[in-house]
């Protein structure tokens, strides 16, 4: 590659010279393939096989092309993705058997149409990623390098302008000026609380006591969320650079990067990044010859959801069980070993280099007045385009779900979106035009959280949704305080009973009382916010709770409250359901109306799915007119 051994950089000029050399060596018109291999989602989709095949194929044909293994591009729905530079052709869903055709196309200057993204609405094939509806409405600041650079090579990051912000902070700004810039930018913590980052930094800086610590929280444990993971896997240097700048501003010389054990690739990539940064003199003693020392250590978390809570995380770093503790004195003042400790999540730190490099004014122009900047969401659930989405704050939920997300799967109706992970709330259709920022979501009883966004369609039961999240939190609670541990236990039981049709009239009042005690009195945010999914589903979908009390599940999800029946008027006596039923619950003969024996039925729904005539009906409450055996099926008149 001609990049040779890494040398210790002794000043901002050397960094710039190196960058220029790296850029010169990289001909922008040269052939380049990027494959999303350095991401858990890409690996699962088989991107490594694609990359290997690409290498063989490129070499076999004697092409002068480079293959770069990048992080996640965000479009998880269509992985593995291959982008061919310089013309930026974007191939989706590439299998290794597609590779020869793809490379042959590149050699002959032809585009392989069938591997391009096809717009589901217009049916048109789209060649460039930036023209895809999924990417068009996004504004990628933090994720812009994710699909372009190899996260295991610091040269890739440097060539794209990496560590320039650090050099600027160390050589052109005093720590106070860095702090001031972050304060003026209005950056708010992306972990969920939305606390002003600059103010948190300042608290730690001014707090008495040495040493001071800085910490990266990469303990994302929300179901369906992977923002921090992708950033840590795909661009670890941006997080590290932000952390070093923060340490300089705060006056810290020791940092911790807390990564949950379930993110092995994130652990690996940040480890490599740390090693390379140290080799280059961007970390350790006398960084870039500035006289500033900073060391960092990776702490592998045991993967408990509650360990993401700041005081619990710090307790874990101290080497004890990751349980939260009362923190009326902020961890920014008394954190690890009671020393001032500034904790921010992955995305927050990654914003810092951008702010330092481009200035607070630039940052404030993005997003809203109260919530500047962009936010990464992981868009999952019943939406066509699932994946990672980076958008300016203030964009509406409708735009995220219907334009970027491509609308609801299978043409179903939108019902609600759950934002903020298990402790967030659901937001119904009437608020789809709400601009997304910290304050607006809180007003609706939900929250930004770390950015999980779960889209639900008409086939979702809101009582069941509340039960799911409460059950998740029950299993993740540390069990230290009474309101959270026992409150969740009772809520779980009551919601489960409701879903089983065993609810009692007084249950709704009991839920409210427990929610109040939990929200007011729990020790940490896991308990105080756990009530959000329950309270918002009750607020916006109260009629579903009432219906469950009466033995009915309007969305026909709760198995105990639904049953399958065959409509005798539609049944054609074709035996398809009969043959597919796994429990032999269907009685039928050719051309005779079939009947489901309810005692044998396990409500798997296979009959419902396979019936070609729509004769199987799902009913709630589970009562249908008694069907009689032995009637001849009414033949449909086919025209």
């Amino acid at each position: 590659m001609g990049e040779g051994m890494r040398e210790r950089l002794r000043g901002p000029e050397e960094l710039e010279r190196w960058r220029e050399r790296l850029r010169r060596e990289r001909d922008p018109s040269a052939l380049l393939f990027t494959v999303n291999v350095r991401s858990a989602c890409g690996l699962a989709a088989g991107s490594e096989e694609v990359a290997k095949r690409l290498e063989e194929e490129v070499e076999g044909r004697g092409l002068a092309g480079r293959i770069v293994r990048t992080g996640c591009n965000g479009f998880c729905e269509k992985e593995p993705v291959v982008t061919v530079y310089p013309d930026e052709t974007f191939y989706v869903g590439v299998r290794s058997e597609d590779v020869p055709e793809l490379v042959e196309g590149v050699e002959k200057g032809k585009v392989v149409d069938r591997l391009l993204y096809q717009d589901p609405v217009t049916g048109q094939r789209i060649r460039k990623a930036s023209d895809l509806p999924f990417y068009r409405h996004q504004q990628k600041l933090l994720l812009s390098l994710n699909g372009r650079i190899d996260p295991t090579r610091i040269e890739d990051y440097i060539a794209e302008g990496g560590y320039r912000a650090l050099a600027k902070a160390l050589f052109e700004l005093t720590p106070e000026q860095v702090l001031e810039e972050v304060k003026r930018s209005g950056l708010r913590g992306r972990g969920g609380g939305g606390f002003p980052t600059g103010r948190k930094w300042e608290t730690t800086r001014k707090a008495p006591g040495e040493p001071k610590y800085v910490i990266v929280n990469c303990d994302e444990g929300d179901p369906g969320a992977f923002m921090d993971r992708s950033l840590m896997e795909g661009n670890p240097h941006s997080v590290l650079e932000g952390l070093i700048i923060g340490a300089y501003a705060i006056g810290s010389h020791q940092g911790f990067i807390y990564v949950r054990e379930e993110y092995p690739l994130a652990v690996e990539n940040i480890g490599i990044a740390i090693e390379q940064a140290r080799e280059c003199g961007l970390l350790g003693e006398d960084i870039l010859g500035s006289g500033f020392d900073f060391e960092v250590e990776v702490h592998r978390g045991a993967g408990a959801f509650v360990s993401g809570e700041s005081s619990a995380l710090m307790t874990a770093i101290e080497g004890r069980v990751g349980e939260p503790r009362p923190k009326y004195i902020h961890t920014a003042v008394k954190g690890i070993h009671d020393k001032p400790s500034c904790l921010n999540n992955v995305e927050t730190w990654a914003n810092v280099p951008l702010i330092i490099l481009n200035g607070a004014e630039w940052f404030r122009k993005i997003g809203t007045e109260g919530s500047p900047g962009t936010k990464i969401f992981s868009l999952v659930g019943k939406v066509n385009n699932t994946g990672l989405v980076e958008v300016p704050m203030g964009i509406t939920l409708r735009k995220i779900i219907f334009e970027i997300g491509g609308g609801i799967k299978g043409g179903k109706r939108f019902k609600a979106v759950q934002t903020g992970g298990p402790s967030g709330g659901v937001i119904p259709e009437q608020y789809l035009d709400t601009p997304v920022d910290f304050d607006e979501l809180t007003k609706l009883g939900s929250m930004m959280g770390s950015g999980g966004m779960i889209v639900m369609d008409e086939d979702t039961c809101m009582v069941d949704v509340a039960r799911f999240f409460i059950h998740f939190l029950l299993e993740e609670s540390c069990g230290k305080c009474i309101p959270c541990r026992e409150g969740l236990r009772v809520l779980d039981r009551i919601l489960t009973d409701l879903c089983l049709g065993k609810g009692k009239e007084e249950d709704l009042k009991t839920i409210e009382e427990i929610c109040e005690a939990m929200a007011e009195a729990s020790l940490c945010a896991l308990g105080t916010t756990a009530v959000n999914p329950v309270l918002t589903t009750m607020r916006y979908f109260g009629e579903e709770y009432e219906a469950h009390l009466k033995g009915r599940c309007p969305a026909k999800v709760c198995k105990a409250l639904t049953a399958y029946f065959i409509n005798p008027d539609k049944c054609q006596g074709c035996l398809v359901c009969f043959k597919n039923c796994p429990t032999g619950a269907i009685q039928g003969e050719r051309e005779m109306v079939h009947v489901i024996e309810q005692e044998k039925c396990i409500k798997c729904g296979i009959c419902y799915a396979v019936c070609p005539f729509g004769a199987v009906e799902k009913l709630s409450p589970p009562v249908a007119p008694p069907a009689t055996y032995g009637i001849k099926a009414k033949k449909e008149v086919r025209k």
Partner: protein
């Protein structure tokens, strides 16, 4: 030491900086109920029965008084309707593991707050162990220099107090935990009951 002035239930109270609301209230003769607090031990803040409402900068918040440090000008209310409701619910929730026949301070407070100790117990969620997991015994054991004869094991609803393996002999030598238990659960000490093996 610096002194601060605050207001608790309308009463002006002077307290030393670094004290908690609970301590300041006690000195002023205002009772706040506690279950996991012991004046000889560090506050732990897990039973949450000592919650009070505070007002700062026009905004009110509920905090655990055993951990919250006093501040100049702080307004504290210890017995609002909301606080009474929350305490009643906490006692009812505590009874799930404590059992409706629980004794000690839990029973006394349940009477005072009108808590129905059988309310959730009747859901049959768990076999009551008389323990509310307040951790007083565990903390007492650590501070008694017995090198942690007992400790918490398990997480969440699986959390319980257990005798650590190999500590049977040490456990026989004192009765400190017995004296601090707020439920009357610890009836004897020694290697077998009352603590379960981990």
């Amino acid at each position: 030491m610096k002194e601060v002035t605050l207001e608790i239930d309308g009463k002006v109270v002077r307290a030393k900086e670094g004290m908690t609301i609970l301590q300041a209230a006690k000195e002023a003769g205002i009772e706040i109920p506690t279950l996991c607090y012991h004046e000889e031990m560090e506050p732990y803040g897990v039973c949450r029965i000592c919650v009070v409402e505070i007002e700062r900068g026009g905004r009110s918040r509920t905090v655990a008084s055993c951990c919250y440090p006093v501040e100049e000008g702080l307004k504290v209310r210890t017995r609002t309707p909301k606080i009474e409701r929350v305490r009643k619910t906490i006692l009812e929730l505590a009874a799930i593991t404590a059992g409706e026949d629980v004794g000690g301070e839990v029973r006394a407070l349940a009477f005072q707050y009108g808590a129905n100790l059988s309310r959730f117990v009747s859901l049959g969620l768990v076999e009551p162990s008389k323990c509310i997991l307040c951790g007083l015994c565990v903390r007492r054991c650590i501070e008694a220099q017995w090198d942690n004869a007992i400790d918490f094991v398990g997480r969440g609803v699986g959390r319980r107090v257990a005798l650590m393996p190999g500590k049977e002999e040490a456990c026989k030598t004192c009765s400190y935990c017995y004296r601090v238990c707020p439920t009357g659960r610890i009836t004897s000490f020694g290697p077998n009951p009352p603590f379960s093996p981990p």
